[in-house]
């Protein structure tokens, strides 16, 4: 049994009042002369017994009436299957709407969200009067009950799909927290969903099931507004060759066209947005696809990008039922080549040859497409060289350096630069284990390790580091074993904050990273500057060689990482906060952010001169401007739906059972089914009417008995003419 107002049960204590009144407030008797006292005296004993019994009966009735009244006002209710329920009891209802982009799927001229809105508008007036109603969607913020039904209807009318969807389970947990606060006994949750798999993703439903179990008797109704056989074409997330490009670097854009239930030939276009904001087609591909297929699209390289921010779109030409996943957006920034200082041992150029060629081949340098420009110097010049203008400094097989040099390198990294240290035979324990060197190195050098059999090589099986992003698509297929490592440096202990970016197959670190202030230090434990004529016995590794694309790729990624190109994220998931870095030398009090919907928002850079934009729910290209067209900054970023956001494949009904566990829920597809389900569930009876009726009966019985006990007996018929009987 549940009580709406359990505190009123204490009112049952008022039942003590008749008892107290009886004990305390005894009536003071009036004194009367009465000659016929003998008639009272003769009946005193029996009268006393009978009166006591009557008093007890009446007292019991009065006490019981008060107790029942208190209980009735406490509004108890019980639930029992088969009982006719009081379907008019107010309900705390939460209406949860999936407002993910998938709900924009249109069929029969209505989106899924519009269908959900129609059903909810029909449902709302059917909720009992004085019900509390909450309307919940994917927008951030804690859910609240609306003031009244009309406010709830307005809220429903304003619902719209958002690029930043939230899983249904997360919305449901918020709704349950709200319903728990309500004092209404009956609680119901209505979930309007297309039953697509991404909406019902949950790692562990235990917390949800626990919350549901705490709300005994809650009714959960899943309203399926999806289509059983969706047909949709969608574009996958874009693969860009880079977000930060050096001047004249080509831009590679790739994606995939996915088909759910559609077949045919479809045209996909790549466009860049010109200075006037108009799309300029830079590539197109025709794709023939069958239902359920996914076809990769690799656009021709985009060349000739000038310095600055470039934005573009990839879109599928045509129409389908879900338009929001037909277009993808991208932003890249083209910068001047990064300046890199390379210090090597003698012969300096020869030792740096492989390294600099891997990063900026001669052909690229000639065409102006090289990402980097290099200054190669001997170690002896490092102490005097002006290093502030470089993006990164690489030490190829450094010997012991002066403390001041290490300190200069440390200051450089701290200010945001990248330092790459490629250890080799020139390193010594004494030289590298000095305090100054240890400031940058990942740990104390212990010894040179070797494996002359050549079975040790690098391993990208754990490719989570940003430097290894390019290897993820080829996981398990990178032939590192063809490029063995014979010797490497091993460390005693690693300093705090040091991470192994790339291990070897024997789990020894090959590449380590150490964050350093605003910059970073990357250390490789085997050299990249061996001369080609080194004997096999003295060789440390075979990283360079014909077909050595893995190490070429690694070197490029390491360098991009060192110069900070991977930090400059310009492409985000919809809903993810975007952070743009403005040159520290360019300060603005406010910047203007233009959204894909045409809105203009103002924002202020923080102390680091970064601009954070949180309103990224709409997929599209965003612009960030400040300081005017001529002397200002013009940056941008793009927000895209995740690939999952438009996956329409439906969950298996068993999945719902996994989510809700043993707790019952009802699935409905239309208004009739909703009606039936809700009517079935609204069992449980509030006992207030029954108890009040009992109280009325008790009071009536008490009244009747009191009257009976104290009624005036019929006067005795004086036998007039008694003498007539005698005669």
């Amino acid at each position: 049994m549940e009580f709406v107002n359990p505190a009123i049960l204490f009112g049952a204590g008022l039942a003590a009042i008749p008892v107290v009144l009886h004990l305390i407030m005894r009536q003071q008797p009036k004194l009367l002369e009465f000659p016929a006292l003998r008639f009272l005296q003769s009946r005193q004993q029996s009268n006393r017994r009978r009166m006591k019994l009557r008093h007890w009966i009446l007292l019991a009735l009065r006490v019981l009436a008060i107790c029942l009244l208190a209980m009735a006002l406490a509004r108890p209710s019980i639930r029992a299957a088969g009982m006719l329920g009081d379907s008019e009891a107010p309900t705390a209802a939460a209406l949860i709407f999936d407002t993910s982009p998938r709900m924009a799927y249109r069929t029969e001229n209505k989106t899924r969200l519009e269908v959900a809105q129609d059903i909810s508008r029909w449902l709302l007036p059917r909720l009992p009067a004085e019900s509390s109603i909450a309307v919940i969607d994917a927008n951030p913020g804690d859910p609240v009950f609306q003031i009244d039904q009309s406010t709830a209807l307005q809220r429903i009318d304003r619902l719209d799909t958002s690029g930043a969807g939230r899983p249904i389970v997360e919305l449901l947990e918020g709704a349950l927290r709200l319903l728990k606060e309500s004092t209404l006994v009956r609680k119901e949750v209505y979930i309007f969903t297309d039953l697509s798999q991404p909406a019902w993703q949950v790692d562990s439903p235990d917390r949800l099931q626990k919350q549901l179990a705490e709300l005994k008797g809650i009714g959960v109704y899943v309203i399926d507004v999806g289509v059983t056989d969706p047909k949709n074409l969608s574009l996958d997330e874009l693969q860009l060759s880079g977000q930060m490009l050096a001047r004249n670097s080509p831009l590679r854009v790739a994606t995939a066209l996915n088909s759910e239930g559609m077949a045919g030939k479809f045209l996909v276009e790549l466009s860049l947005i010109d200075a006037a904001g108009q799309p300029e087609k830079r590539g197109e591909e025709t794709v023939e696809i069958a239902p359920g297929e996914s076809k990769s699209i690799d656009f021709p390289l985009i060349t000739g990008l000038t310095e600055g921010t470039h934005q573009g779109t990839v879109r599928f030409v045509g129409e389908d039922s879900l338009a929001i996943d037909n277009t993808r957006y991208f932003t890249v920034q083209v910068k001047p080549p990064w300046k890199v200082l390379v210090a090597a041992g003698a012969p300096v150029e020869d030792r740096a040859e492989n390294f600099t060629q891997a990063l900026a081949p001669t052909e690229f340098r000639r065409n102006g497409q090289a990402r980097y420009t290099f200054d190669v110097i001997p170690f002896a010049e490092l102490a005097k060289r002006n290093i502030e203008d470089y993006a990164a400094i690489c030490l190829l097989d450094p010997p012991a350096l002066e403390d001041a040099t290490w300190q200069r390198l440390g200051d450089f990294a701290r200010a945001g630069g990248g330092v790459g240290i490629f250890l080799g035979p020139a390193a010594t324990l004494q030289g590298m284990n000095t305090p100054a060197a240890q400031e940058l190195l990942p740990g104390e050098l212990d010894h040179q390790a070797s494996n002359p059999d050549g079975v040790v090589s690098m391993s990208t099986r754990d490719d989570q580091h940003a430097m290894l992003a390019k290897f993820r698509s080829r996981r398990g297929q990178v032939p590192w074993e063809e490029f063995p490592i014979y010797r490497w440096w091993q460390f005693k202990n690693l300093h705090d904050g040091v991470a192994v970016a790339l291990p070897m197959v024997n789990d020894r670190p090959a590449v380590l990273e150490r964050p350093f202030g605003k910059g970073r230090v990357v250390t490789m434990t085997t050299p990249v500057s061996e001369l080609s004529d080194v004997s096999d016995n003295n060789r440390w590794n075979q990283l360079w060689g014909i077909g050595s694309w893995p190490f070429f790729t690694l070197t490029n990624e390491m360098m991009l990482y060192l110069v900070g190109s991977t930090e400059g994220q310009l492409n985000y998931a919809a809903g993810q906060p975007a952070v743009l870095h403005i040159d520290p030398n360019r300060r603005f009090s406010t910047v203007l952010v233009s959204t894909p919907r045409g809105e203009s928002l103002r924002s202020s850079p923080n102390q680091l001169n970064d601009v954070q934009v949180t309103a990224t729910g709409s997929p599209g290209n965003y612009r960030v401007r400040a300081g005017g067209d001529t002397d200002g900054v013009n940056l941008g970023f793009s927000a895209n739906l995740s690939s999952e956001a438009s996956r329409l494949n439906r969950v298996n009904p068993d999945r719902l059972t996994e989510v809700f566990g043993d707790l019952p829920f009802r699935l409905a597809k239309n208004k009739d089914e909703i009606d039936r389900n809700v009517s079935l569930d609204r069992v449980g009876r509030e006992l207030f009417p029954l108890l009040i009726a009992l109280v009325a009966i008790l009071l009536a019985v008490e009244h009747l008995l009191a009257n009976r006990f104290y009624r005036e007996p019929a006067p005795s018929a004086a036998p007039a003419g008694a003498a007539a009987a005698r005669s």
């Binding site: 009536q27 009465f34 008639f39 009946r43 009268n47 008694a722 005698r726």
Partner: protein, 298 residues
């Protein structure tokens, strides 16, 4: 203007100060009512006739009566029609009680006695008066002269109910006192143990007297109109008792009825006329009781 029958109501009679007038009006009211009563045609004149029986002289047949009733009646000898009556009045303190009526039990009894006296004297019946409380206090020998009415009324007006009750003893005294067969009309509330009283009454009856027992109780003593918690005090013994009047009513009334029923039954068995009265009743009820008793002797 009040009709004669209005004087049968105690509240009306109370307005008459003089007892002789009270008596007169009661009787007149009674007689007025007789015309429309079941006793129509049965007037006091008929107390002077008896039915014709074999052996009576036909010359004594009252042909006027025959014309009225189609029955044969002969006139009684005067000697046959007279009865000596004694009005026996209880003077105990309990008789002076009333709760909310216009007349106390004593006043009611006196009015009744006065009316009966008036009636008897009017019929030339000798009537006397005996008063008692613990014992006989006063005694007026029976006379049939009209002045006897004044004597009796004069004594009655001076009486006050103040003493304790010894009904049985007093009745036995009365029985011993009376030499000739008489009509003894006792006016009392009988608030004493019934058995001694009944024995005394039987003794009186055994001596050949006709007895009419006017059992006068106050209206409150019959109906018990009290409520709430009341402490009652018996005026003669000063005994007190606290009761919840509402809860006691039915028991009390049952007890009173049982008391009255005892007297009715015992009196019936003893040939005593028992007339239970309460002070809210009209006087004709008591007077009718007298009248029926009178008729039975004819």
């Amino acid at each position: 203007m009040l009709s004669a029958e209005e004087y049968l109501k105690p509240e009306v009679v109370r307005e008459i100060a003089r007892l002789d007038l009270r008596a007169q009006f009661i009787v007149k009211g009674f007689l007025q009512g007789m015309h429309s009563s079941p006793f129509q045609g049965f007037s006091v004149e008929f107390s002077e006739h008896r039915k014709y029986s074999a052996g009576d002289d036909p010359h004594d047949i009252d042909w006027l009566v025959y014309a009225k009733t189609d029955k044969y009646y002969v006139k009684k000898f005067e000697a046959e029609t007279n009865i000596t009556g004694y009005l026996v009045m209880d003077l105990s303190r309990s008789m002076g009680y009333t709760y909310r009526q216009n007349l106390t039990k004593f006043d009611y009894g006196i009015c009744l006695a006065a009316a009966l006296c008036y009636l008897m004297v009017h019929q030339q019946d000798p009537v006397g008066l005996i008063t008692f409380d613990e014992k006989i206090r006063n005694c007026l020998p029976p006379r049939s002269k009209r002045t006897q009415l004044g004597n009796i009324l004069s004594l009655l007006t001076k009486l006050r109910p103040t003493g304790k009750t010894e009904i049985a003893k007093s009745i036995i005294q009365v029985a011993a006192m009376l030499r000739h067969r008489s009509l003894v009309m006792i006016f009392s509330d009988l608030l004493a143990d019934p058995e001694p009283v009944l024995q005394a009454l039987r003794r009186l009856r055994h001596r050949g007297h006709d007895v009419i027992l006017f059992h006068i109780l106050d209206e409150a003593e019959v109906k018990f109109p009290f409520d709430g918690v009341v402490e009652f005090e018996e005026p003669e013994s000063q005994e007190r008792m606290k009761v919840d009047a509402d809860g006691f009513k039915s028991d009390y009334i049952a007890e009173v009825n049982r008391f009255r029923e005892t007297y009715r039954r015992e009196c019936f068995q003893s040939g005593i006329d028992y007339v239970p009265i309460d002070t809210s009743m009209r006087f004709d009820r008591a007077l009718t009781g007298y009248l029926l008793s009178r008729r039975s002797r004819c």
